[in-house]
Subunit: 523 residues, 2 copies
């Protein structure tokens, strides 16, 4: 399934004042220059030869090839193919076999002619990688190519020196999980909080929320969070909705993709940022926009206190009126994310996210002493909690159900627990019930896994949460991860939501949360 939305003639509504504030907060990237280690013996290369370099850890940056020759004066261009791999396994993959629905343009390969040797060839594009493989497609009978060195100017908005404090633990696996989490976060912190430095490379709100949480516990780069909040606020849908993501290459421009859960996350994002910083300017500038996101979604709540479910298991709407209709914009119903498991019915999860967001909206309203809004939030929470309990909860099975088919998924339970529909004791029972069912509708991403973990912790199941952290994130480390991955199914590590793992991102922001969980909650 291709999860794309396309709106003909879409023009986001840009607010120059907000965007100017965002621009003023643009970080100057920190550059570290590294040299790759040659894998295998050094030798001059002829057609058909290959050389690989290892940069020791996951890097994001600009690569320079230091090339010379052996033999006669080169009488023809050298022709090489470069491959950048986040994991060693990727070097052995054949990109011509990729047949997924996401653009093959993301596969990190280049074909290059070098007319003159010696040469320092600085590639103009940025790559995310640990390994570089160079295949020599042509030299000539008169000379061989020598790759003397490969260097990388690694970039990030932060550096390890900015790190506030190390994790207090004696557990070697947890130390390693924390280090890899921090590396993941650091490599995604660029001009904005990127979702992944290999693919997409842009600001998604679902990722941003988790990155911000981890950042508050580690690098504490508040300006970058603020910049991203202003970017989302500064370029929105014409009807005021916050977009799922923002393009910041060239002119700032909201994508024409709306995800209802992501838009709601603007509220906890702002509330948590304010809680950390007490930044009154940001609160004043962005409060109205946050509340607007709630209001837009509340129009989709029925009198029974339940959000409407969409066709094919997706809850969706387009134009803010009551006629939720995925068909209007392509019919794929991709208006709420939840997780990269397309089998999940999203109604209950989304109900949970709406209640969760309303609790943050209430906090913001209290900060603003906005009595009317405080009342609205309280009323909405009461209505939605009641609806959740009465319409979406199976008392016999002690689990939440979702959609017409009353689907029981892990995601639904996690979000209803985080929404605090019930008290801690009941929440614990719910999560035990779903564990006993074998965690149905598997969680495909560290993103969903994070929410499940936090739900466990908040319902007093810290030990179980620790098992998940060590079992899930620990498993990636066991499999050689230098940074955590966008999607990971331990039962099927090559699983990809895109139809081919070659376009998976193996350094993905939303997987960095152990750095937050291990510091926020005392294990």
């Amino acid at each position: 399934m291709a999860n794309v939305s396309i709106i003909e003639g879409f023009q986001p509504k840009n607010d120059p004042v907000l965007l100017e504030k965002a621009e003023s907060l643009k970080p100057e990237l920190k550059v570290t220059t590294l040299t790759g280690s040659r894998m295998g013996e050094e030798k001059a290369l002829k057609e058909g030869d290959q050389v690989r370099f290892d940069f020791g850890n996951h890097q994001v940056g600009y690569v320079t090839l230091h090339l010379s020759h052996q033999g006669s004066h080169p009488d023809a261009p050298a022709f090489i193919k470069l491959k950048f791999a986040e994991r060693a396994e990727e070097m052995d993959e054949d990109s011509s076999e990729y047949e997924g629905w996401i653009s093959r343009g993301w596969i990190q390969e280049e074909w290059l002619h070098i007319d003159q040797l010696p040469a320092e060839v600085r590639l103009p594009r940025r790559y995310a990688f640990r390994y570089i493989q160079i295949d020599v497609l042509a030299t000539s009978l008169k000379y061989q190519l020598k790759v003397d060195r490969v260097t990388c100017e690694a970039v990030s908005a932060v550096s390890m020196e900015d790190l506030s404090e190390p994790l207090q633990t004696e557990d070697e696996l947890l130390k390693k999980i924390d280090q890899v989490s921090i590396r993941t976060l650091m490599n995604c912190m660029q001009d904005v909080f990127e979702d992944g430095p290999k693919r997409d490379r842009r600001l998604w709100i679902g990722d941003l929320r988790l990155q911000a949480k981890a950042n508050y516990k580690t690098f504490k780069n508040y300006d970058l969070v603020k910049r991203c909040l202003y970017l989302f606020a500064g370029s929105r849908f014409p009807d005021g909705r916050v977009s799922a993501n923002i393009f910041t290459d060239g002119e700032v421009e909201a994508d024409d993709s709306y995800l209802a859960d992501y838009a709601l996350f603007f509220v906890p994002l702002l509330a948590e940022y304010y809680a950390e910083t007490k930044d009154q300017e940001a609160l004043d500038d962005l409060y109205g926009i946050a509340m607007e996101q709630i209001d837009i979604v509340m129009r989709q709540v029925g009198e029974d206190g339940v959000v409407k479910d969409g066709e094919n298991g997706f809850w969706c709407f387009i134009d803010g009126d009551d006629e939720g209709d995925a068909e209007k914009e392509g019919g794929n119903g991709f208006w709420c994310f939840i997780d990269w498991n397309n089998e999940i019915n999203k109604q209950a999860s989304f109900q949970g996210i709406l209640i969760y967001s309303l609790r943050y909206a209430l906090k913001l309203a209290q900060e603003k002493q906005d009595a009317k809004r405080i009342g609205m939030c309280r009323g909405a929470i009461e209505l939605l909690v009641k609806g959740a309990k009465e319409k979406l909860f199976d008392k016999e099975e002690m689990v939440f159900v979702s959609g017409k088919a009353r689907q029981v998924s892990t995601a639904s339970q996690a979000w209803m627990v985080l929404a605090q529909v019930f008290d801690q004791e009941t929440n614990r029972k719910i999560l035990r019930a779903i564990r006993e069912k074998g965690l149905p509708y598997h969680m495909a991403t560290p993103y969903m896994m994070h929410h499940y973990c936090e739900a466990l912790i908040q319902s007093g199941e810290k030990e179980e949460a620790m098992k998940v952290i060590k079992g899930y994130w620990g498993k990636m480390i066991e499999m050689g991860a230098d940074t955590f991955w966008e999607t990971f199914n331990p039962e099927d590590p090559e699983e990809s939501p895109y139809g081919g793992s070659m376009v998976n991102s193996y350094c993905h922001a939303w997987s960095c949360t152990p750095a937050y969980l291990l510091r926020e909650y005392e294990f």
Copy 2:
């Protein structure tokens, strides 16, 4: 057969004074900006689509793609493949099928990722082409690529405004042949006289001599000829030999390839340049080097007045001593070029070239009033003419023979005629005899064909020469040539000396000589 010479640890002997003079004569290239015509309808392109542009004539220059998009904001890099074609047919060729011995690095293709749209992508490399084909390898489901325009900054040391005078003829085919010759010459006139702007792209002395001749009749750019003479003189083999070609990318450096015929051509090159310009400085600087080339080759002449023939039909030597031995440097015996027909035994042709060069050496010696050298030249000519007549001429058949096997080739006759071994009347008979034999050992290149034409003209067979010009160069035009080709066998147009026509050069300097022949000799 791979015709390459490789000398381990070769270091040319560079003369800074001569090279500085060469540098001071480096031309400033003239730039003309052109826009390609779209072939087929304009449309936005998705994965798998293709678009072609036609620049109306053969161009040498730097290309800029003017790109934009249609649909949503691009959410993935566009990935395209570019192909530059001198002839329309090349666009349909599949470079993965190339299996020749010359580097596939010469095939004019690029693979390119474009991270941001709109974009003006100026490709850093220079191409030789009339057509550009763009294949879209990836966009995404959200957008299509638009190629709004493709422009080219065409470059040459000369422009059509520099042209001295048009050819005086009413014959439309001759006019066309002349125009195409001039275009070929112009597009090969860059920082130096290049052999071909697609492949090799460097200064070869065999090409230079013919380019200079055509240039004297057309653009009259004497400085560029002088620059090239100084480059050959300024970077030579350690023993003083003039190299077959010079690299001028980066530091000037003679190639480690010696071709005895090419080295001798330094002599007529200098003599003709002096005849055109009366440039005393050049004569004084370069006279000694010219004479040295004669002396080196004369050591290979036996007491019988015949140049020694090498193994496998090649006459060769390496280190200036009497032990001609191709085996010493790889054994391919590529020490004398003559033509891209490897079946030709080169002894007789080379004997002709030596006599031909000695006649120019004599002229130079007379200009310098160098009595000793005048005597030496006269003696050498006498010895070699006698040797040619007695040992290499078959009186019965009225043809020259070459090598142990007494091979009768067209090339041998052409060069012996140009050497004026016999008088005009006998020369005419020789050329008639070889025509009657069906011009054995076919001439593979316009380079050899030029010498055959000039031999015809000089022996009074102008009509026959005209037939060749119209039949051979005219045939290329009939086949769509915008510029004349490096190699052309009308019986087998796809013939390539390199094992694949994909690396053939379709704008090649040595094919430009009709512009000279049609002006020099009154037809």
